[in-house]
């Protein structure tokens, strides 16, 4: 039999690498398995990395990690077909250490991060697919890879195999996700001169901007678009619930092309050249879709356990925190020599009592609510645009007159009641 590890981590994304890093740092003998050619080669995200959770793993990582730009401005565009109501926050405090968030390109960042885990002593093996968990007497004791002589054993297996987590599914931890539990994001990386980016987005060197797009960006389907500034590229993409694409019979790339050609967006990306095209599923079922995350000799972390806060487009930070807490748990289990479900449950408890669990619970109904009520996106956002247009068009009408007209355009008293009720309900699901 080949050598036995304290832990095997399946998948070198933010969750898996965080876990492997902290395990190795804590003195555990850990194997990190990645199916891609290198960590990051198969990983996709819009591109915001959250500083705090990364620093919980590697303090002051921003001094050496391959980051794109610290984000100093976050814009939100409520889009109609030929207009947008935009609000934004820009603050110079985000432009200096310790910063708030960064844009990153995953292909570069994940490689760097995995190298850090290797420096701590984790053993990284790429281009190797884990086919299944090896289960003996109801306990996970290792994994079977697709390579000859490919069985490897460990006291505990950490599943960080991403959104579909076929491994957790085959253990019976969760069912195959429904189309309304996952979003499909398509994105492009567009090459554009650094100076042009800075002029166009009103930035200085080493400053970045993120723009979130709502409403017409997704043709009113529940989801969002985004446009982020990197050093000399832009990341642009759209993500919508898979069920929405199916219902509206829209192909994901059509939606991306639509956003790129939108009058509010096309001037921002003009003259850029597509460099990469990526697509990925995002688990957006929230708290209700979370399956079992702990078993005898096994822990599930990151996307594999549905840890995404869709409303705040957060995911990698939840993933990192779950990886860190899994590592903490395994180190305690190692000390006690007990890798049973009961011992590993420490992870579940710590996860749910912290911000990850709190946020998952807070937004547990939000995606489902907006999914059931598409008029938030396809009616209210256009109404908002129309109202803004009427209010700010100078045509000799008095502002009183305008307000009256806007109020009238909101519909009958009954419709207004419905709208008020919707606003209250929207508030309730995110409060």
């Amino acid at each position: 039999m080949s050598e036995k590890f304290d832990a095997i981590v399946v998948g070198a994304g933010p969750a898996g690498t965080s876990c492997a890093h902290d395990l190795a740092k804590g003195g555990a003998h850990v194997l990190l398995l990645e199916r891609g050619e290198y960590p990051g080669s198969k990983n996709v995200m819009g591109g915001v990395l959250y500083r705090k959770m990364m620093e919980d793993i590697i303090p002051e990582f921003y001094k050496e990690a391959p980051l794109e730009r610290p984000i100093v401005e976050q814009r939100f565009m409520m889009m109609d077909k030929e207009s947008a109501v935009t609000f934004s926050y820009k603050g110079m405090e985000w432009g200096k250490e310790p910063y708030n968030n960064f844009t990153v390109l995953r292909a570069k960042f994940d490689q760097w991060f995995a190298d850090k885990a290797v420096q701590q002593g984790a053993i990284l093996i790429n281009e190797t697919v884990v086919l299944e968990c090896i289960v003996e007497n109801g306990k996970v004791v290792g994994v079977r890879t697709d390579r000859p002589n490919g069985d490897v054993y460990a006291d505990v297996v950490v599943l960080a195999d991403g959104v579909n987590s076929l491994l957790a599914q085959s253990l019976g931890f969760h069912k195959e996700y429904r189309p309304d539990e996952v979003a499909l994001a398509t994105m492009e990386i567009l090459k554009l001169d650094k100076k042009v980016i800075e002029d166009r987005f009103n930035l200085e060197d080493n400053q970045g901007c993120t723009i979130e797009l709502f409403g017409d960006a997704t043709k009113g389907i529940l989801g969002t678009g985004f446009l982020y500034t990197n050093k000399d590229t832009l990341s642009i993409g759209v993500g919508t619930l898979l069920s929405g694409l199916i219902k509206h019979k829209i192909k994901p790339y059509e939606l991306l092309e639509y956003v790129k050609a939108h009058p509010m967006i096309r001037t921002l990306i003009q003259g850029s050249e597509p460099q990469e095209y990526l697509a990925h599923l995002i688990p957006e079922g929230g708290y209700h879709s979370m399956g079992r995350i702990v078993g005898d000799g096994v822990i599930v972390i990151g996307d594999a356990s549905q840890l995404v806060n869709a409303i705040h487009r957060e995911g990698s930070n939840l993933a990192m925190t779950s990886g860190r807490l899994a590592a903490e748990t395994i180190l305690l289990a190692k000390e006690a020599g007990d890798f049973s479900e009961k011992a590993l449950d420490h992870y579940r408890v710590r996860l749910l009592e912290g911000f990850v669990g709190q946020d998952m619970k807070k937004y547990k109904d939000s995606t489902h609510h907006f999914d059931r009520n598409p008029h938030y996106f396809d009616q209210y956002i256009p109404m908002l645009n129309k109202a803004a247009s009427q209010m700010f068009t100078v045509d000799g009408q008095s502002k009183w007159e305008k307000q009256k007209k806007i109020w009238k355009d909101l519909g009958t008293p009954k419709e207004k009641m419905k709208m008020a009720r919707d606003m209250y309900r929207a508030w309730k699901v995110v409060k």
Partner: protein
């Protein structure tokens, strides 16, 4: 027990590399560095010969420190040891200076464990010259056997190697004395999906890393750019082929047109003697 050394190179992946339109040279930053595909076959053949006759497989490369990655790839294939020679003074070497540096490293490896056979890939995909292998053989004064397609026999007691060489219109079987050097065709073997224990070994493996000062009897003037008489005076893209016909119409029509053209020119697809 044979000691086989495979000489390998880390190259930019020329399948994806972008060319600089002004200088017509490769923009190496645009492509990931990989193990030269021909060299993977060289290492695989060395590993197969070790399985047949017993012994040790070492791999040797010259390059910048990241070339360790290419050595690890060879360990995955099944090599036992890896040697990297790396030094700023090696930089800018053409095939003459490269074969000189590799020969000095081979001499050092041979002192520990005499080398019976050196195997190189046919050529590197970034240079396409195929000169380094024969260059090493010339410097070591051993027979170079190029275009090796099959190893028929290695007999260390009798000091001979019998191989099949691929020619333009067939094969030839030749016998050589040992030690000798093969440069191998891609067709010599298939590199299988590496078994897990090899992956584990590679992930942990640290190769021997030598600088110029670790080698003996080195004439610095023969290294790197200084030792490279090759001058690239001009690089240009081949002219685009002219003429030809574009097929128009829908898919069905295009297929029909293509078929009629193929049938009309069927003599182009016949081998000699067929009618």
């Amino acid at each position: 027990m044979l000691h086989i050394v495979a000489c390998i190179k880390q190259v930019p992946d020329t399948k994806i590399i972008k060319m600089n339109p002004k200088t017509n040279t490769m923009d190496r930053r645009t492509a990931p560095a990989i193990l030269n595909p021909y060299d993977a076959h060289a290492v695989e053949e060395a590993v197969r010969l070790r399985e047949r006759y017993g012994g040790t497989v070492s791999v040797l490369t010259m390059g910048p420190p990241p070339a360790v990655k290419a050595i690890k790839k060879c360990i995955e294939i099944g090599a036992d040891e890896g040697y990297l020679i790396t030094d700023r003074r090696f930089a800018g070497a053409d095939t003459l200076a490269t074969s000189y540096a590799l020969t000095k490293a081979l001499n050092k490896i041979s002192k520990e464990n005499p080398v019976d056979l050196i195997i190189c890939g046919k050529m590197s995909i970034d240079g396409d010259t195929g000169q380094v292998g024969p260059g090493i053989a010339r410097r070591l004064d051993i027979p170079p056997l190029t275009s090796v397609n099959k190893v028929i026999e290695i007999n260390k007691q009798e000091g001979k190697a019998i191989v099949q060489r691929k020619l333009e219109d067939g094969y030839e079987v030749v016998q050589s004395t040992l030690p000798c050097l093969f440069s191998v065709e891609k067709t010599i073997n298939e590199v299988p999906y590496a078994p897990f224990p090899n992956m584990l070994k590679a992930a942990k493996y640290n190769p021997y890393i030598w600088s110029v000062d670790d080698l003996e009897d080195v004439d610095i003037k023969q290294l790197g750019l200084k030792g490279s008489p090759t001058i690239v005076s001009k690089v240009w893209a081949p002219p685009k082929p002219e003429g030809g016909t574009m097929l128009e119409g829908n898919r069905q029509e295009q297929v029909e047109q293509l078929l009629s053209v193929l049938l009309e020119k069927k003599e182009l697809f016949m081998t000699k003697g067929e009618s």
